[in-house]
């Protein structure tokens, strides 16, 4: 059987043809939409949600990919506004804040679980106690620490009772007790438990002898021979006043607390189901949910299929019949699926840098808005030469952030530690405070803003620090700078490498210093950075947990802070504490801005950029916005079949007012507004 040579020629021809086809696909067609764009026939949204969720148990699941799925399955006291992410009523119709910002009273509506059981205040008590229980060991449990006694309960601590049956108080041991001892807020009576929560905070200490060894000697002496009473779930500051009134007592004022309650840790779960099935309770055959959607099918790493929950309190509003979540994290694959019309939308940071120029042209689909997230380099302030403030400042000034933003295409320059364009009220307060503070130093806001890029000043500072920069024609060199003591370390990722190389080139160009780059696997890097083993600089990013600048400023709070820089100043802690005790929002922001000013003067970090959302959705998906956390309240999302009403030019999507969405926001927020109005009238 001799194969004719004709066959060979044919196969060559075929390959050439294929290659031609491939090239024709690679050059982008000048169509209006990216790939196949037809509204699906069924009312089901197909959404790429990021990596496989760790769990479908809301307090257990930690990340943002999980948060998006939890938002479909579970409801909480409040929900995020689809655009601003401000808290809007969820199961709580309205709420009141009292006792100097430490008491929250929620009035619940008559909502149901997916099995028809009513959702009562007791269910929230159960859910909150469970979320912070040491047995569940939820990674996010610390978000509940604002609730009175939640932290000692989660930590397995004990109360201390003396022979007379009196519990020792925390204030007994506080140095500044005298000036801080405000009278305990008036308890409005009620149950024993209510009074207990309103009474001054009890002292709590670790339960084991070993851990108690590190306590303040004064406390150690005082607790000698006393009785220890474990802090129990029943002691934490959550209370069902009646079936539809839920009360939370905080240990100290936290003005951002209400904004935190949309987090999955605080969403309500069904006690009976959790107790009956244990860890298997989230399986599709067992699960009972409280949100707008029900779990129908879960095939790990492949799909999570949800359908509309007819028992949901606001079911009339829900227009989608279901959402299919596809847990994928390979950017190219998801872009392919999107182009082929197999998915309708995806999560944030999904457009690969190499595709950005092309995707950006699809103005009805590409969503890039500022995000409540920043990227920066930490500086190890414990090791020379970076322990010298002037050196740190020089490195921060020698990066052209405007050029970086152009190069990165999606981000915005950042010189402070809170993201730009996210907290407009705070930014107003900050401008005012900075102007004042800078005037005291004989400087101006313009000079401060020049920190985006100021190579001349950078070289001057470096010289003052003892490392003179020499100019040779157009280039610079700094022969005395100990390059062998400074690295720039980042966790391995294409985008981190691109930024690091850019910054390296900037320092070389503007200071004449070539800083070696080092990359590491993620978990290895985390431990290396946290233990301050790195020399010089390391990459970091931070995503806000809630919509308040404190979620960023908190990073430098306390000696064991999470900044991975080694920087700490007790004065800074005091400033933040004072700010959070301030009830007036504007004044509080000013106080926070002063703290931010202080930490930025010390330059323990080199801010680089405010992140942006950077994702795409099909134009027929409406009610879905590039909000600062890319967290969507799914009941606002719908599919529009009429192409005339599809989203257009989504650059302005945040300013456009979809009447249906706004009607519903108005309807949902009316109950809370009415309550606020009522209080105003009473006060007048």
């Amino acid at each position: 059987m001799r194969i004719p040579d004709k066959y060979f020629i044919k196969s060559v021809l075929l390959s050439v043809l294929t290659a031609m086809l491939a090239t024709s696909c690679a050059t982008e067609a000048t169509s209006r939409f990216y790939g196949k764009t037809e509204a699906p026939k069924d009312n089901v949204l197909r959404y790429i949600s990021g990596s496989e969720p760790e769990s479908l148990d809301p307090p257990v699941a930690t990340g943002q990919p999980e948060a998006r799925i939890m938002m479909a399955l579970y409801d909480g006291l409040v929900e995020y506004d689809p655009k601003t992410m401000d808290p809007i009523p969820g199961i709580a119709e309205s709420w009141e804040i009292g006792q100097g910002g430490t008491e929250y009273i929620f009035h619940l509506r008559h909502a149901q679980f997916s099995n028809g059981d009513p959702i009562k205040a007791g269910d929230f008590v159960f859910s909150y106690r469970r979320a912070v229980s040491p047995e569940l060991a939820a990674l996010n449990g610390y978000l509940g620490y604002y609730i009175k006694y939640a932290e000692p309960y989660n930590s397995g601590f004990v109360f201390v009772k003396d022979a007379n049956g009196r519990f020792l108080l925390k204030s007994d041991f506080e140095e500044a007790a005298a000036d801080r001892a405000k009278p305990a807020p008036d308890s409005d009576g009620g149950t024993e438990f209510h009074k207990f929560l309103d009474s001054p905070e009890r002292l709590t200490v670790p339960s084991t002898e070993k851990e108690r060894a590190d306590l303040d000697p004064k406390i150690k002496a005082a607790i000698q021979g006393k009785e220890f009473v474990p802090v129990k779930a029943e002691d934490i500051g959550v209370e069902a006043v009646d079936d539809y009134t839920f009360r939370i007592k905080l240990r100290q004022p936290a003005p951002y607390f209400i904004g935190l309650l949309g987090h999955q840790l605080f969403r309500v779960v069904h006690q009976g189901t959790v107790e009956k099935y244990g860890k298997a309770w989230t399986r599709p055959e067992n699960i009972v949910t409280s949100g707008a959607f029900l779990l129908k099918e879960h095939r790990p790493y492949d799909r999570i299929v949800t359908v509309k929950n007819p028992k949901y309190w606001d079911a009339d509003m829900v227009r989608l019949d279901g959402i299919e979540f596809y847990p994928l994290d390979e950017a190219t694959t998801m872009m392919n699926l999107y182009k082929a019309g197999s998915v309708d939308a995806m999560y944030n940071h999904t457009t690969p840098a190499a595709w950005n120029e092309v995707i950006k042209q699809f103005k009805d689909e590409y969503l890039n808005a500022p995000e409540v997230a920043i990227e920066y380099y930490t500086v190890n302030v414990k090791k020379p030469p970076m322990n010298n403030l002037k050196v740190r400042q020089a490195f921060a000034l020698a990066i052209d952030r405007e050029a970086m933003a152009k190069y990165r295409k999606t981000t915005k320059p950042l010189v402070d530690f809170t993201p730009e364009g996210i907290f407009p009220k705070y930014e107003e307060a900050r401008t005012k405070v900075y102007t004042e503070e800078l005037k005291k130093k004989g400087s101006t806001l313009e000079q401060w803003k020049a920190r985006e890029f100021d190579p001349v000043q950078a070289r001057k500072l470096l010289m003052e620090a003892g490392f003179p920069v020499q100019q040779n024609g157009n280039t610079f060199s700094c022969p005395t700078f100990p390059v062998n003591q400074v690295d720039l370390t980042y966790n391995t990722a294409e985008s981190n490498k691109a930024v690091a190389e850019f910054v390296q080139a900037q320092w070389k160009q503007n200071l004449g210093i070539t800083i070696p780059l080092k990359n590491m696997e993620w978990k290895t890097f985390l431990s290396y950075r946290k233990k301050l083993e790195y020399n010089g600089m390391a990459r970091a990013g931070w995503v806000g947990d809630y919509m308040d600048p404190f979620t960023f400023l908190n990073l430098f709070y306390s000696e064991t802070n999470d900044s991975s820089t080694g920087w700490w100043d007790p004065k800074y802690d005091k400033m933040l504490d004072a700010a959070n005790n301030e009830l007036d929002a504007t004044k509080r922001f000013e106080m926070l801005a002063r703290a931010e000013f202080m930490v930025m003067q010390e330059q323990p970090v080199i801010p680089l950029q405010t992140q942006a959302t950077n994702w795409i959705k099909k134009p027929f998906v409406k009610g879905m916005y590039p909000n600062p956390g890319t967290l969507h309240a799914w009941k606002f999302v719908y599919i529009e079949r009429d192409p005339a009403k599809w989203d257009q030019n989504v650059e302005n999507i945040m300013a456009e007012r979809d009447p249906w969405v706004y009607q519903n926001i108005d309807r949902i927020t009316a109950t809370q507004k009415a309550l606020v109005e009522q209080h105003k009238t009473v006060a007048e």
């Binding site: 001799r2 086809l21 696909c25 257990v60 040491p134 060991a137 990674l139 694959t333 978990k523 995503v543």
Partner: protein, 305 residues
């Protein structure tokens, strides 16, 4: 023969335990843990987690507990995916990888063997040059390049096939082709080389001298000898194929074991990593055994005592 098989089977157990122990040590040496993240946990939360998973015990206790569980075939629960047992995860995701792998294996064998045999018979013909050149191309183009090219043409160019994800038969075509390509090419070249060598050997000349037809020389004598190199290659290759291949699973978003294996290491999900490592090592050892047995069947000169 039976004694040989038994001995080989028995050795698998200590070998697998050794592999698991070394992996365990490596995971422990690697910095970071399954719960480490950008946000540092408060010490109390970390202590709760350590208590929950028995990580607060001394290392040797943890090691013996792990080994005794492994001996009983119980790898415990995944650390990252709470409430999921490792055995369940392997059972659930192996079929995806195995389906793609087995199909790719079949395609590779069918195409590779026929191309190789035909090329060897028609040595130096147009077909020989064409198929071997294509095979060389197949070997040189890595699957992370081939996969996206196939997607570009068939899923995004002409919209004939879905670009990714698990689903119907049409979802299988591109990943199977991508995965099969390199094996196909390798098998074709190995077959051709093996066949060329064997067909020139003395016993083939003898067979022809006996007056056997060319077909029966080829099928009864030639192939048996010529395929030995192919068998020693495809045995372990099949183990690898069945257990999942990371690149193809990533490119086509297939929920297979290969993908999960890599993720488990990045997540520091110790029980899951150990479970998959143990499973893979046993699988590879079993397939090597099968290869060794099949040598005896293919080549009458090889005997086991």
């Amino acid at each position: 023969m039976l004694g040989f098989i038994l001995r080989r089977l028995l050795i698998i157990i200590p070998m697998a335990l050794l592999v698991v122990s070394v992996t365990w040590a490596l995971i422990r040496i690697a910095p970071g843990s399954f719960y480490s993240n950008e946000k540092t946990l408060p010490p109390a939360i970390e202590a709760n987690i350590k208590r929950k998973y028995g990580l607060d015990k001394p290392w040797y206790q943890q090691y013996f507990l792990m080994i005794s569980n492994v001996v009983r075939g119980d790898f415990g629960d995944s650390l990252k995916y709470q409430g999921e047992s490792v055995n369940d995860i392997i059972k659930r995701h192996l079929p995806y990888s195995a389906t793609i792998g087995a199909l790719a294996y079949l395609v590779a064998l069918m195409v590779g063997l026929s191309a190789g045999i035909v090329a060897s018979i028609r040595q130096n013909s147009g077909f020989d040059y064409g198929s071997m050149a294509t095979a060389m191309l197949g070997l040189s183009v890595p699957n992370f390049v081939l996969g996206p090219i196939l997607v570009l043409v068939f899923a995004l160019g002409v919209y004939w096939l879905p670009p990714a994800r698990w689903g119907g038969m049409s979802n299988l075509i591109l990943p199977v082709l991508t995965l099969a390509a390199i094996y196909m090419a390798y098998i074709a070249r190995l077959t051709r080389a093996g066949m060329l060598e064997v067909m020139r050997s003395d016993y083939i000349r003898t067979a022809r001298a006996k007056g056997l037809s060319e077909t029966s020389v080829l099928l009864r004598h030639g192939i048996r000898g010529g395929l030995i190199p192919v068998v020693s290659y495809t045995g372990p290759a099949l183990a690898g194929l069945l257990a999942g291949t990371v690149v193809v699973e990533k490119v086509f978003a297939i929920p297979g074991l290969g993908n999960i294996f890599i993720q488990s290491v990045l997540n520091r999900d110790e029980p899951l990593t150990l479970g998959i490592v143990a499973f893979l090592s046993i699988l590879i050892m079993v397939f090597n055994l099968i290869v060794d047995i099949s040598y005896g069947i293919l080549d009458p000169r090889i005997r086991y005592d």
